[in-house]
Symmetry: C2
Subunit: 211 residues, 2 copies
């Protein structure tokens, strides 16, 4: 690959690539993966479909690019970091919620991607792995909170699975009803949830709700 002596061209190329990424992102945020087409991206970019085929020779290439973009933007997003133990757990969960327009776009794209991911065995396995990694991280935070005496004893993996369930479902509800779930209510619901986890009798079956 020839790279020497042509900084402007290389810069143009990278600027164009950023534009393409942004156009793909905007189309996904507005229409989801089901609406992600070369034509829609071209329209968003103000370019021809022909130019887009240079980047994405097939629909599958476009979808794979979009999934990578989602992954990269998620990994590189700013994260809260206000402490350890329960505070870190709370930060990790707040980082997932659609509390800003940017986070709402990102979540909307994630939820949209579930359809594609569930239909493709490889993608589905990849997503299962992603969520397992995420639960492991939450599990470590739960264990740290337990060591600090902030959470009562109990299997950290189960508590982490519960916490991830809670925030994923809250994401879905907030996306469908942003007016009913403004950021303040989302945070309050999460804090109420975390407050129930701190109850000392959480483990064991003494208070089991089984009927």
């Amino acid at each position: 690959m020839y790279r020497g002596g042509m900084p402007r061209t290389k810069g143009d190329h990278e600027a164009r690539r950023r534009d393409v990424s942004e156009a793909v992102w905007q189309v996904m945020a507005a229409r989801g993966f089901a609406g992600l087409t070369l034509r829609a991206v071209a329209a968003e970019l103000g370019a021809t479909t022909g130019l887009l085929t240079h980047y994405f020779p097939t629909k599958r290439a476009l979808v794979e690019y979009a999934l990578d973009l989602l992954e990269q933007r998620t990994l590189s997003r700013p994260r809260r970091d206000s402490g350890k133990g329960l505070a870190a757990l709370r930060d990790g969960l707040l980082d997932i919620l659609p509390l800003t327009p940017e986070a709402a776009d990102s979540n909307r794209i994630w939820v949209s991607s579930w359809d594609a991911a569930l239909s493709d065995p490889d993608l589905s396995t990849g997503y299962a792995h992603k969520y397992a990694v995420s639960r492991d991280r939450l599990s470590e935070q739960v264990a740290a909170a337990q060591e600090l005496g902030e959470l009562p004893p109990g299997d950290p993996a189960e508590i982490a699975a519960g916490a991830q369930s809670f925030v994923l479902g809250l994401v879905v509800q907030a996306l469908f009803a942003p007016a009913a779930f403004p950021p303040q209510r989302q945070v309050q619901l999460l804090d109420d949830y975390l407050a129930t986890l701190t109850a000392p009798d959480r483990s064991g079956n003494r208070r089991s709700a089984r009927s």
Copy 2:
């Protein structure tokens, strides 16, 4: 429309309609809404695409039919009914979870439909309404459980929103990782969640997890 005197033909017509519904359902369960095409339904049915256009003149007609089918099958599914108060709340939440292959198919189709629903303002409003109705029902069960002394005081609407978040997120995790979330673990996680709700100090901020 001529209907008189041809019971066999009418019977054939209804049998064919059931076959079409089943084929649409199977395609959605396997490929989601993104994979729902006339061609795929025709292949599932062992029919020609031409025959399908008789039922669904447009892609949109097929999608609307599929959404109606999802709604009807969800409304008509068997439901648990083992009591009132907390037991009824638990039943209502168990009814949502993918604890059987049939419930897994149905949930997989619901999750798939979120992409289409979020992209369409009318559909999105309809879904928001559906989930609000579902929360209202849960809220009534929470209030009943509070009256029975099974749950501590607290805003039933907020507790219902939390419970709905929990099960929706558990659905998503279980769909991606059915081996990690077999029915028994799903039920255990739900029971653990309900057990935290029964802790007497749930309301108020004494145990707030705010950092």
